[in-house]
């Protein structure tokens, strides 16, 4: 965390006392508005190199640009808002930023012609709690790719190096 916004806004006669965490991935160099995860008060901040250059200043009536990564209530034990709590903390999509999104160049075979699991989506093959087996059963999971591989073998397009 590069900094926090400790929200002291009076809500129903008592201070909000929510610590909103500002993660360096998003906020290291950042200017804009951000909501408190608990009372949704909007604050303006300007951070430069992880330091709070300006703010936090309240901006009533404005829409927040983003939300904190995570927030908790340290004075109330372990109550918190985990990341990606809708409307409170920042949605977590884990997709590359827009300028990095290009046309996917996915592969099914390595340069020597053997199958490599480089395309999406892969068929479901996980077990309990995300567990995976130790073997990629390509013949059953992706029979079309398996067939393509057999064809490559027949044509002599698979080599040792």
């Amino acid at each position: 965390m590069c900094d926090v916004i400790w929200c002291k806004k009076e809500v129903d006669g008592s201070p909000c006392e929510t610590v909103n965490y500002l993660d360096p991935f998003c906020f290291w160099n950042w200017e804009g508005t951000i909501n408190c995860a608990e009372c949704r008060t909007v604050y303006y901040i300007h951070m430069i190199q992880g330091h709070m250059y300006k703010g936090p200043e309240e901006r009533p009536g404005e829409e927040p640009d983003t939300s904190p990564l995570y927030a908790d209530k340290p004075l109330e034990g372990y109550r918190n808002y985990m990341f990606a709590t809708e409307g409170r903390t920042r949605p977590f999509e884990c997709m590359p930023r827009s300028f990095l999104l290009g046309e996917a160049d996915m592969v099914k075979f390595s340069i020597r012609g053997k199958p490599v699991r480089g395309w999406r989506p892969q068929p479901e093959s996980a077990g309990i709690a995300g567990s995976f087996p130790y073997h990629w059963d390509i013949q059953n999971l992706s029979p079309d790719v398996w067939e393509e591989y057999q064809e490559k073998i027949r044509k002599g397009e698979v080599s040792d190096w």
């Binding site: 360096p24 372990y78 985990m82 977590f92 884990c94 997709m95 590359p96 290009g102 046309e103 996917a104 160049d105 996915m106 075979f109 390595s110 340069i111 020597r112 053997k114 199958p115 490599v116 699991r117 480089g118 395309w119 999406r120 989506p121 892969q122 479901e124 996980a126 077990g127 309990i128 709690a129 995300g130 567990s131 995976f132 087996p133 130790y134 073997h135 990629w136 390509i138 040792d160 190096w161």
Partner: protein, 473 residues
């Protein structure tokens, strides 16, 4: 009357094997053949593993600290990589260029893969997910600590202490526990400073002596790859192996604290002592050498592959390393390039080591090479008995017969991700009795949850599924 052999007596001449020191010498196989049989690249799986029986927890991310644990796993330790639920190590989301991914990352994320940037840093490990900082999971984490030999973590100093998981706490649970912190600066000024490879190259002054001098158009330079991440991770592993040996003697664990921005000082040779003795700040000297001349990399005029599409081949296949610093070699070099005047001017090594002399020598070499390809240059010099070698690109590394014969570069049929070309595990030298090996590159996030939570810790599957639903694991 001939003397009959007494069957009850075993005579030396009846035994198999050499009968004299001379015969013994004759029966020994040639040394090269002996080495090939002793190391036998490609058949590592038939041999035992030196660290079998060691169990390690890897609470790490990116390259530096994960690599320290991967070193143990390659040597046979059972390493459990603990990752953030449903996301995993941040390095999984880093890839060198568009779409060098292997799928899937996790069962809930069919459209997200693990980037090739993750390669080699987490070899042979078991993959567990756990949000161990939520209070409900701390006891589960302690359960793992009780049955493990050590842990590597990379959080800001004091973070695990805040969660009651630092060495202070864990040694009370398991006094034999070896605890490794690896990160940016460690205690001292900038204790909260994070770390990157480039920060290490800068902070320790390594980048200041890499690259050509500004006089020659150069700049302080970082190595393109994250060498300090990989090298610092290996330095941690030395420490861990020493700690394991210490524990055999004393029965007690220990704590290692490795600052990544500190380790590059190990690669700076005499630079700091030079300053201490004379007050001289060492200069960059790039592709040339401050201690030997001629002993550097020169640029040739023509590419070996002028028609290639790839710019790395079309334009950059022009560099050759040349080493001819002792007097006879340098004299021969001057003769080959038709500049005997250089030998007349600089017959002693001390003379040609001077900066002005080096500028003249390398300039003459590059002028001679201006109308040649790098292979023509290296052939001409090799034929004259001078060491010269093409600076290879990575396609040429792949095609290198030397690296193939020794098993350094090889294809892995990864059990889960298919055909992968690898170069890391087998780059560290060969061991005849208990070699390193690569079993799998990595597994999806949480791929071994059931194996560890149920089979190892004895937690009921219903509980595991409940945690999974809550994204605690």
């Amino acid at each position: 009357m001939s003397k009959k052999k007494d069957p009850r007596v075993t005579r030396i001449e009846d035994l198999a094997g050499p009968k004299s020191p001379g015969e013994l010498e004759e029966m020994k196989m040639p040394y090269e053949e002996y080495c090939r049989q002793a190391f036998d690249p490609g058949n590592e799986a038939k041999k035992p593993e030196s660290l079998k029986g060691i169990r390690w927890l890897s609470c790490t991310m990116y390259i530096f600290t994960p690599h320290s644990a991967a070193n143990l796993a390659e040597l046979g330790a059972e390493v459990i990589k603990i990752e953030i639920p449903r996301m995993g190590d941040a390095m999984r989301h880093t890839s060198p260029f568009n779409e060098a991914y292997l799928y899937p990352l996790h069962e809930s994320r069919p459209m997200t893969g693990t980037g090739l940037g993750f390669t080699n840093a987490n070899i042979n490990e078991l993959y567990l997910t756990m949000d161990y900082h939520i209070p409900e999971m701390v006891d589960v984490f302690y359960g793992l600590v009780k049955m493990s030999d050590g842990l590597t973590e990379l959080y800001r100093p004091g973070t695990l202490d805040k969660w009651k998981m630092s060495y202070k706490y864990l040694q009370e649970i398991n006094p034999r526990f070896i605890y490794v912190w690896g990160g940016g600066f460690g205690y001292g000024p900038k204790v909260f400073g994070g770390s990157y490879d480039i920060l290490g190259q800068a902070h320790a002054g390594l980048a200041s002596i890499t690259g050509m001098h500004e006089y020659m158009g150069g700049h302080a330079t970082k190595c393109t790859n994250w060498v300090i991440d990989w090298a610092s991770g290996t330095i941690i592993t030395y420490g861990v192996l020493a700690a394991i040996h210490w524990r055999r003697k004393t029965g007690l664990g220990t704590m290692l604290e490795v600052s990544q921005v500190q380790t590059p000082t190990r690669f700076m040779g005499y630079s700091v002592p030079l300053y201490g003795r004379f007050g001289i700040v060492r200069q960059r000297w790039g592709n040339w050498d401050t201690q030997l001349c001629a002993h550097g990399i020169i640029l040739c005029g023509k590419s070996d592959y002028p028609d290639a599409d790839n710019p790395q081949e079309k334009f950059d296949a022009r560099y050759v390393m040349v080493s001819a610093f002792n007097d006879p070699d340098f004299q021969e070099l001057c003769s080959v390039i038709g500049r005997k005047d250089l030998w007349d001017n600089y017959p002693r090594h001390k003379q040609r080591l001077e900066a002005e002399a080096q500028i003249e020598v390398y300039d003459a070499l590059e002028q001679w090479a201006a109308d040649k390809t790098r292979t023509e240059v290296s052939d001409a010099l090799n034929n004259a008995g001078i060491l010269a070698y093409n600076v290879k690109n990575h396609r040429e590394v792949y095609e290198s017969e030397h690296l193939r014969q020794r098993g350094t570069i090889r294809w892995l049929d990864d059990p889960l991700f298919g055909d992968l070309l690898t170069h890391c595990t087998y780059s560290t030298g060969l061991m005849s009795k208990s070699p390193r090996r690569l079993k799998w590159q990595w597994r999806p996030v949480g791929a071994d949850n059931v194996k560890i939570y149920r089979d190892m810790l004895g937690i009921p599957v219903s509980q595991v599924e409940d945690w999974y639903e809550k994204a605690w694991i």
